[in-house]
């Protein structure tokens, strides 16, 4: 059994790494369990132009490398891999990974959110074989081909525009008539001649499971219910995110969509457990807001530790 930790941070996106930076600078020797999607969603992006301090922008993966190095500089410990279980019922809390178990006085949850899928069996079967949730990773493989992007938000617009660099035609499929994306993103996308639109339309099935690669999709008009098959070789799913809170079910209070409920800053329903970033925020979801909330969680944990009862002090 390892010694009692002051702070364990679960997750290594901008929220987790900022919490690590602040708690390391407060001499709390934080342990960061990075998770297998280490670096978080920014690892899937290209140029980030809205993180303050980088006047010419910075590549998402590079920004995360910088943040990680900065928190390590002040003594944050990093371990790879996933947390497999937590016990938040009594103090000290227990955090288990694939090959270790840690005890800690506080936990900062920064597990973020992951891409949501359509939920079709054919989508799962063809993941990595024409179905993708990462345009920057996989766009390269669709040079000169016709593909679809499913979704109507900012990320869907961004992916569609990025993919026109490779694909000959990108069709945006969205289940409503109106897009959810911001006006500036919509305008950019609508001005792109390689983007076609299928609005009021849902994807019923992705074809190609028999061939082992995507050959088309079956779409259905909302309202009329008319179904058509469209031939294409790639389907990029960009329909939002779902919070990574499976570990915390029945231990922390979650809202109806599975996000951790925070109050008075970063406090959760369990004293000593704090949450920051996209795992508790479905509204702003920006790198800078995640980083800001990571700072809040570290400061809240620090204040909490100052009041921890004697018998738990090392």
């Amino acid at each position: 059994m390892s010694s009692l930790r002051d702070v364990i941070i679960i997750g290594s996106g901008p929220a987790g790494l900022t919490a690590a930076l602040y708690s390391a600078r407060a001499n709390l020797k934080p342990l960061v369990v990075e998770g297998h999607e280490a670096g978080g969603q920014l690892m899937l992006t290209t140029m980030v132009d809205n993180y303050p301090g980088y006047r010419d922008g910075i590549m998402g993966p590079e920004l995360m490398t910088e943040m990680r190095a900065q928190s390590e500089r002040f003594g944050a410990d990093m371990i790879q891999g996933n947390v497999t279980a937590v016990d938040l019922c009594e103090v000290p809390f227990v955090v288990r990974t694939e090959d270790a178990e840690f005890r800690t006085k506080t936990v900062i949850v920064a597990t973020g959110a992951s891409a949501r899928l359509l939920g079709l069996p054919s989508e799962r079967a063809l993941m990595g074989h024409g179905v993708s949730t990462c345009a920057t990773c996989d766009g390269y493989f669709f040079r000169g081909q016709e593909i679809a992007v499913v979704g109507g938000g900012d990320s869907a617009m961004e992916e569609a525009m990025f993919l026109t660099k490779f694909a000959s035609k990108v069709t945006v499929v969205h289940r409503r008539e109106a897009l959810r994306a911001s006006k500036i993103m919509q305008d950019k996308a609508r001005a792109n001649p390689r983007i076609a639109w299928m609005l009021n339309t849902e994807v019923d099935e992705i074809k190609g499971t028999d061939k082992g690669e995507v050959t088309g999709m079956v779409v259905r008009r909302v309202g009329s219910g008319a179904r058509t098959e469209v031939a294409l070789s790639g389907v990029f799913v960009a329909i939002g995110h779902t919070p990574n809170t499976a570990l915390f079910k029945s231990q922390l209070e979650l809202d109806a969509n599975g996000y951790i409920i925070t109050h008075d800053g970063s406090k959760t329903s369990v004293p000593g457990v704090f949450a920051c970033g996209d795992v508790q925020d479905h509204v702003y979801r920006q790198a800078v807001t995640a980083a800001g909330s990571g700072c809040m969680a570290a400061l809240d944990a620090e204040h909490y530790l100052e009041g921890v009862p004697e018998h738990l002090q090392t």
């Binding site: 297998h36 999607e37 280490a38 670096g39 920014l42 690892m43 899937l44 992006t45 290209t46 998402g60 993966p61 995360m64 790879q80 891999g81 996933n82 694939e98 993941m127 990595g128 074989h129 024409g130 993708s132 990462c134 920057t136 990773c137 996989d138 390269y140 493989f141 669709f142 082992g212 690669e213 995507v214 790639g234």
Partner: protein, 109 residues
């Protein structure tokens, strides 16, 4: 930084180093511009250490070696394929924990 025991596969050496190799060969298809691929690199390095002498482990850059990536219908990276006797016996697409790769490898030892 790839560990010493992680090999570099190319369109040129794939036939001899992977397809005609004796024993299982794990190939990590990756590219410089792929963030998740970079995050997977330490896992691949660790596997190469854990399975030294049992499984040949290496990486193939899809940008520099499009022929092999095309041949094996790589449509998403990171993609890790396990080859045995010249055929693909397992594939893991996207980021996955080290334990998942171990399970896949153990089946073919």
């Amino acid at each position: 930084m790839a560990a010493d025991n992680v090999q570099t596969f190319t369109d040129g050496n794939f036939e001899t180093s992977v397809l005609k190799a004796g024993g299982p060969v794990l190939v990590d298809f990756w590219a410089e511009w792929c963030g998740p691929c970079k995050r997977l690199a330490p896992t691949i390095d660790a596997l190469a250490t854990d399975y030294a002498g049992k499984v040949t482990i290496g990486k193939l850059n899809v940008d520099e070696n499009p022929g092999t990536a095309f041949k094996f219908q790589i449509r998403g990276i990171p993609a890790v394929l396990l080859f045995k006797d010249g055929a693909v016996v397992e594939s893991v697409v996207g980021l996955a924990p080290k334990e998942d790769f171990k399970k896949v490898i153990e089946k073919h030892l």
